[in-house]
């Protein structure tokens, strides 16, 4: 009964989404206020019914209703309750429902927070978001219904993929989807602006906070995914350039470019058509990512169960959305020109370079992701493009990006006088270079060109991000003097610096060692002694495991005991590696059990990972920067009021 209610709610949501699309768009076209007004009501109803459907599916999981095929395939009686909830989005059908729920939530957030935007504009935004909802609801109902029954019901379920039975991964998809789907808001704002033809800076100002929120969630989602891969896949790496990771990384890169480009469009009225194109691209890449992950076109470690029909559906939807948007763009963009110029040395120049480099980076990731497919279609051969290619190709655009970032932050809009610019930046530049030599040489005792470049670059970003906040602290005894948006920028860039430090140090000084180990034996890695005390059998709710007790000592002194496990999940009979990690801000010590070599001997992978936490800490700080930026006062002012103020300011200037 409950699953049928969910099914029915989903159909009602579709009907309301159709209303939410058609009425406001037609109303906005005809100037009919009543029709435009329906948008918000329909969006609210649409959200409520999607939420009901989602609740019904969750209920089916919590009550172990194995007469629902999706539940029978992805849950099990002994599955801990937390994972019964996260299993709702543990596979294709349910995660699509989560996607739909997130889209509906974004829509009502936009509808209510932007209540003071011009009616026609707001109606168009809601209409465009409604159109996207219709597409995804149809996708769910026609190809991927989570409420399909299994008759006769199974006695017990097939269990959630053990890889996903992890607290980090329970919240990774919601964060990621809030980010992915959030770019639909920027997309809808851009489309609404293009439909109306009213393409001055206003839409950029309205879009900025939404884009930043989407971006910060995507940042957190990706970082969490990376962290999960680090401790759960058992390889100790933090990024694998897997197709699915790339699918989330491309929208992030373009979204980052969009945030910067929106700043230029809002402040200076430049790059208008380019910003529109980025807003379209960021969301299109989210859709492309969905397609790649769910169509089975690309082989990946975490691709969903796949089906070509689904692939065709998403591809058709992708084509309609993207081609529609780009036709509109090709029609409207030529009328956009701006008379504002800018000097060669100006913030505009740096932001332009930032955009070009980020887009190049995204293009490289796209090429690397699709290349195996191209090769297979041309030659029939199977190739994989692995980290070696990506790691090198990706440095080409990102190294200059990092160097320019520190300069751009301290460059004025329009034109910057070279002399004062140089006076401000020369000391940080010299200090960064010195640190770039000193850090590797004195702390880690080794040096190479790439290390100096990496450490200098990281120091450069950190120092240049801190210049403004520190100065303000010294002068005005508080950060209150800096606008929140500028402070947010500094903090986000600081996060970037921390990230670069982490990446540089861990890739240069990380040690990995695969060895055989049995109880009573010790091995030494990175100056630490890993002593295997013993092995024991332990049992979890739905797995049994072999657990090693490993004591870590340094110079004979006890540091910690860690307990890596090799788990066998009872239903799917699959083996999982649960790494033992001694985590620290300065270094991680990581032990994962490999294969059993003999009676008691195991191959173990021991890793020494200096500063690896900085990678995720950096991402966290970046997201914090986004949070600070959106708390800026001007976003809290109503649209109309800020518009009036801007006009007044423009008139005064």
């Amino acid at each position: 009964m409950i699953p049928e209610i969910g099914q029915f709610a989903l159909i009602l949501a579709l009907a309301l989404a159709v209303c939410q699309t058609v009425l406001p768009l037609v109303g906005a076209h005809r100037g009919n206020t009543a029709m435009m007004g329906v948008g918000r009501t329909a969006a609210t109803g649409h959200f409520v019914f999607v939420a009901i459907a989602f609740a019904c599916l969750t209920y089916a999981f919590l009550t172990d209703d194995f007469s629902v095929l999706y539940v029978a395939n992805h849950s099990q009686l002994a599955l801990p309750t937390l994972y019964k909830v996260s299993a709702v989005w543990g596979a294709h059908e349910g995660s699509l429902l989560l996607w739909i729920l997130v889209l509906a939530a974004w829509t009502i957030a936009v509808a209510y927070f932007n209540a003071d935007l011009p009616d026609a504009y707001s109606a168009r935004v809601i209409g465009v978001l409604g159109f996207l909802s219709v597409g995804f609801l149809l996708f769910a109902l026609l190809t991927s219904n989570p409420f399909d029954r299994l008759i006769p019901a199974a006695a017990d379920g097939g269990d959630l993929n053990p890889l996903l039975q992890d607290p980090g991964l329970a919240i990774h998809p919601p964060l990621l989807y809030i980010g992915y789907v959030g770019f639909s808001v920027a997309f809808a704002f851009a489309i609404a602006a293009m439909i109306s033809g009213d393409l001055d800076q206003k839409w950029a100002r309205w879009t900025r906070p939404w884009t930043t929120v989407a971006w910060l969630f995507l940042t957190l989602g990706i970082a969490l995914g990376s962290w999960w891969a680090y401790y759960e896949l058992g390889w100790g790496g933090w990024w694998f350039w897997d197709a699915v990771e790339n699918a989330s990384f491309m929208p992030w890169l373009i979204g980052t470019a969009l945030i910067h480009s929106l700043a230029v469009t809002e402040k200076r009225g430049l790059f208008k058509s380019w910003t529109l194109l980025l807003a379209i691209s960021a969301f299109s890449l989210s859709l492309l990512g969905t397609f790649l992950v769910r169509s089975g076109i690309i082989v990946s470690v975490h691709a969903f169960a796949t089906d070509p029909t689904r692939g065709f559906f998403i591809l058709t939807f992708l084509a309609v959305v993207v081609i529609g948007a780009l036709v509109l763009y090709a029609w409207r963009a030529p009328s956009l020109d701006s008379d504002a110029g800018f000097g060669l040395l100006s913030r505009e120049t740096f932001l332009l370079l930032n955009n070009v480099l980020l887009v190049v980076a995204a293009a490289l990731v796209l090429i690397g992701t699709l290349a195996p497919l191209v090769v297979e279609m041309m030659t029939g051969g199977k190739i994989s493009i692995g980290p070696p290619w990506f790691n090198i190709a990706f440095l080409v655009p990102t190294l200059p990006l990092i160097v320019l970032l520190g300069m751009g932050m301290h460059t004025a809009w329009r034109t910057q006088k070279t002399a004062s610019w140089w006076r401000l930046l020369r000391i940080p530049a010299i200090v960064s270079l010195v640190l770039g030599v000193v850090i590797p040489l004195f702390i880690y005792g080794r040096i190479s060109v790439l290390l100096v470049v990496g450490c200098s670059a990281a120091a450069w970003i950190v120092i240049s991000s801190l210049i403004q906040p520190v100065r303000s602290l010294l002068r005005e005894k508080g950060t209150a003097g800096i606008p929140r948006s500028a402070l947010g920028m500094s903090v986000a860039h600081l996060g970037m610096g921390l990230f670069v430090i982490g990446v540089t140090v861990v890739s240069a000084f990380g040690i990995e060692s695969d060895q055989a180990l049995q109880p009573g034996e010790s091995i030494e890695v990175g100056g630490f002694e890993f002593h295997m005390v013993g092995l024991s059998n332990v049992r979890g709710p739905n797995f049994s495991a072999i657990e090693a007790e490993i004591e870590i000592r340094r110079d004979g002194e006890f540091v910690d005991t860690i307990r890596p496990q090799k788990r066998q999940y009872l239903v799917q009979k699959s083996w999982m590696t649960e790494a033992g990690i001694r985590a620290g801000l300065d270094k991680d010590l990581f032990v994962a059990l490999g294969d059993q070599l003999g009676q008691n001997a195991w191959s173990v992978r021991v890793q020494y990972k200096p500063l690896i936490r900085f990678i995720w800490l950096g991402a966290l700080v970046m997201a914090l920067g986004g949070l600070i930026a959106i708390s800026d006062r001007r976003y809290r002012r109503s649209g109309r009021e800020s518009e009036a103020r801007t006009r007044a300011a423009e008139a005064a200037a």
Binding site: S273, L373, K573
Partner: protein, 177 residues
């Protein structure tokens, strides 16, 4: 043509390419090293009677379906009714490989749900599964009268797949290339 049309052209090209990619087929369908080769030899006790063995020799002389199944596998339950239907039609001899399972539970499963198999081999430790390159259950192999594996299907079998992939291969007749 104005320069603002270029994104459209690029995306259209990409979409065409992706459509071709989809039509190209399943990238997961790794060319199985078993297809076109003689079925890996095995001899295992049957599920119902450990004294009796079945193996590659039992199947020779006719087209045969080899279905890898287990009681812990939900999708096996999903495909089970279709296997029963095939057995009722006497469409093809069906042999099971009961894979990494418990004998008692497996026998109870067949008692409860019906037994479409002429016989099931009991592959307790999954060794034969390894020889046959089994990734997970269910998997279904089509073996021709000469004992050559001519098709392998991953996941539950249904009527559409049976007609499209299996019947056509049997009807096109003769030994596989």
């Amino acid at each position: 043509m104005n320069r603002f049309v270029w994104p459209l052209v690029a995306v259209a090209a990409l979409l065409v390419f992706l459509v071709m990619g989809l039509k190209h087929g399943d990238p997961r369908a790794l060319p199985s090293p078993f297809i076109g080769k003689p079925a890996p030899q095995f001899e295992l006790p049957t599920l119902k009677n450990p004294e009796v063995t079945i193996g590659t020799a039992t199947m020779a002389g006719d087209y045969a379906l080899v279905n890898v199944w287990a009681t812990w596998c939900v999708m096996c339950r999903a495909e089970h009714p279709f296997l029963l239907e095939l057995a009722a039609q006497k469409a093809i001899p069906i042999y099971g490989i009961n894979w990494r399972d418990s004998r008692l539970e497996a026998m109870r499963w067949l008692d409860d749900l019906g037994d479409p198999y002429l016989a099931s081999a009991y592959d307790e430790d999954g060794r034969v599964g390894i020889d046959w390159g089994v990734y997970g259950a269910p998997e279904t192999f089509l073996v021709d009268p000469q004992g050559t594996v001519i098709y392998k299907h991953l996941g539950p079998l249904d009527r559409v797949i049976w007609q499209r992939e299996f019947e056509s291969r049997i009807n096109s007749g003769g030994p596989a290339k």
